[in-house]
Structures are given as structure tokens and as C-alpha cells.
Symmetry: C2
Subunit: 157 residues, 2 copies
DNA sequence: TTGTATTAGTTTCAAACGAAACTATTATGG
DNA sequence: CCATAATAGTTTCGTTTGAAACTAATACAA
């Protein structure tokens, strides 16, 4: 095996992007099972409800939801429609600019939020309990840094 | 706002599963652009080629590819078919057990591997260069631990 | 004032995906 | 020896997704 060729061999098991993907998918899958099983919600559905539930008295536009969740506007549009049809959120057209609408959780939507949010937070706590405080702190820093760097690299393209 | 209610509010921006998902998607998206642009390959396609390229002299079955990539067998099946149609991999039925086939990169497939693998490794190196060696080492440990724990929690369900 | 650019969100359509069922082959136990 | 179970992989079909185009509304410049 020549040096140069061996040096460029990619070992998936050690490759950070792959490991991040697998870890993220496993984690998300486990949590998605919670709200899918209990309330028939998709990942996109819950993600919007999670943002709207942060401050239930405050409404958000779809554009704002896109920004907060980093989801594509089409995906947000579809999830919003589903959640309205399910009666979990409601829409109020902005009289100052009829292109947009204000969205907020309904009473039933809030009940679902109050059921799911603690469960997903508990799941996170359980997971993080396996790390030392120092590890958790560094993980937090590293994720923030990698996100910033990757966003920069993506923006530079 | 009452204590208990406020305590269970979920802040997506601080929520580890969400942050992992966003980071992973951003990273994977950037890398996927490399092989999609250069060779028209999907994430699934490249993932299989990456595994087969690790040791080109050795063949693997679809079951083995599922294990190495943690991909669903249907997804592997579809990607294998596509890669065979593209001429990037070839299949040889196992004479001892005709249910399975041995898969390996073709010459052209290997050329693609030799083009993409270094580029994706370089991308990873560039990303990791923004971490200190200590941070990178802890990240490695933490990802492994979290994967193990999440797999356990998933298996316990 | 008006034509054009931009914005916010929706719809269309082809491709991809997920769950379930299926086929071909081999393993196993009575 | 043979019926059944299990395995490896494929196909079906309905749903979801992604890219592009579209609609309605507002902003802006001449």
C-alpha cells in the first residue's frame, strides 16, 4: 500500500461528519418517537410548536419560524398548514401587511407543548448526565464554534 | 410566570438534539455538495462508495454495507442499484449462498473515490483546525459516549 | 402616479423515501 | 426427507420532499 494512497483513505467510523450525522439521527429519532407516538407529530411539526411554545403570548410569522428553526420556507409552510388543520396553532393575518400572518399555539396546542417539552428536556438531561460538567461545557463550546465555522464556509461558497 | 412552567420551556437554540441536527445538516450539506457537484452522487451513494473504497480489494455484501453505514436495507438496495447502473460498483453473486452478492468498486468507481475522499478529508481537517487538540480529543470522546448511550436508550425501548 | 422589484407564502411536479409486503434462497428441526 | 423458519435483498404504493414556479401584497424609484 503506497503512502499517499493510504493517507487519503476515508474511515467512516472515524470521520466526524459521518459520526455527527449518525449521532444526530439516532438522537432525533429517539425524541421524535416521543411526540410522534403521543400526538402524531412530525419532526417539522414539533420544531415549530417548540418555537411557538417558548413564549406563547407572542406570535411569529412564517419567516420568523424559518429563521428560528433553520427550516426551508416550503417545509415551514407545509407544517404550518398541517398544524392549523390539526387545531394546534392558529393564524391571524397582519392587517398592516396582508402578505404575512401571525401564528400562535391554540389552547390544545399549548397542552401538547406542555406534555412534550418536559419529556424532551428530560431526555436531554438523561443524555447529558453521562458527561462530566467539563465535557458538557466543552461540547457546548465546540458545537457553537463548529456551527459558526461551517456557516462561514457555506457562506463563502 | 410560574416556576414549574418556566422550567419546562424548551429553548431550541440551547437544546442539544436540535443543535446537533442543525450542525450535522450544515456539515453534511456542505460535503454533499462536493460529490453531488463533481459526480452527481447522493449522500447514500457516496456513503456506500466510501465504505467500499476503504479496502478496494475486499468486497462487501449489502448486509455488511448496512452495518457499516447504519443505513436501512431498502436505502442500501436502492443506492446499490443506482451505483451499478452508473458503473461505479459491480456485483458478483456468492456461489456458496445465492441470496447475497459481493460488491466492490469498479475502476471508474475507484477513480471517483480517489477524487472525492481526499476532498472530504481536507474539508474535515479544515473544520477541525478551528479546535484545539484538547477540544478535538474531548469531542471525539463525547461523541463516542453519546452514541453508545443513545444506542443503549434506543435498545431499551 | 405608475411600472418594476421585492417580499411572504403557496402550489406544482418529479423524485426520493418509509413501511410493508414480497421473492428467492438457505437453515433448521422433527 | 420435508415442512417451516429465517435470511438477503427487491418491489409496491402512498407519502414526503426538494426545486422551481407561482400568487398576492408591498416597497421603491423614476
Amino acid at each position: 500500500m503506497t503512502g499517499p494512497v493510504a493517507a487519503t483513505r476515508l474511515d467512516l467510523a472515524a470521520y466526524l461528519p459521518y459520526r455527527l450525522s449518525i449521532l444526530s439521527n439516532t438522537v432525533s429519532g429517539a425524541i421524535a418517537a416521543i411526540y410522534e407516538t403521543r400526538h402524531g407529530l412530525s419532526v417539522a411539526d414539533w420544531r415549530l410548536m417548540a418555537v411557538l411554545g417558548m413564549d406563547p403570548e407572542r406570535s411569529l410569522t412564517q419567516k420568523a419560524l424559518c429563521a428560528r428553526t433553520r427550516m426551508d420556507k416550503v417545509q415551514v409552510s407545509r407544517a404550518v398548514k398541517r398544524l392549523i388543520d390539526l387545531g394546534h396553532i392558529e393564524r391571524e393575518v397582519d392587517s398592516a401587511d396582508r402578505r404575512r400572518a401571525h401564528l400562535r399555539l391554540t389552547g390544545p396546542g399549548r397542552a401538547i407543548y406542555d406534555d412534550v417539552a418536559p419529556a424532551t428536556l428530560e431526555w436531554e438531561r438523561e443524555l447529558l448526565s453521562r458527561l462530566t460538567p467539563a465535557e458538557a461545557a466543552i461540547l457546548d463550546t465546540v458545537i457553537a464554534r463548529l456551527q459558526e465555522v461551517t456557516d462561514e464556509m457555506a457562506a463563502g461558497s
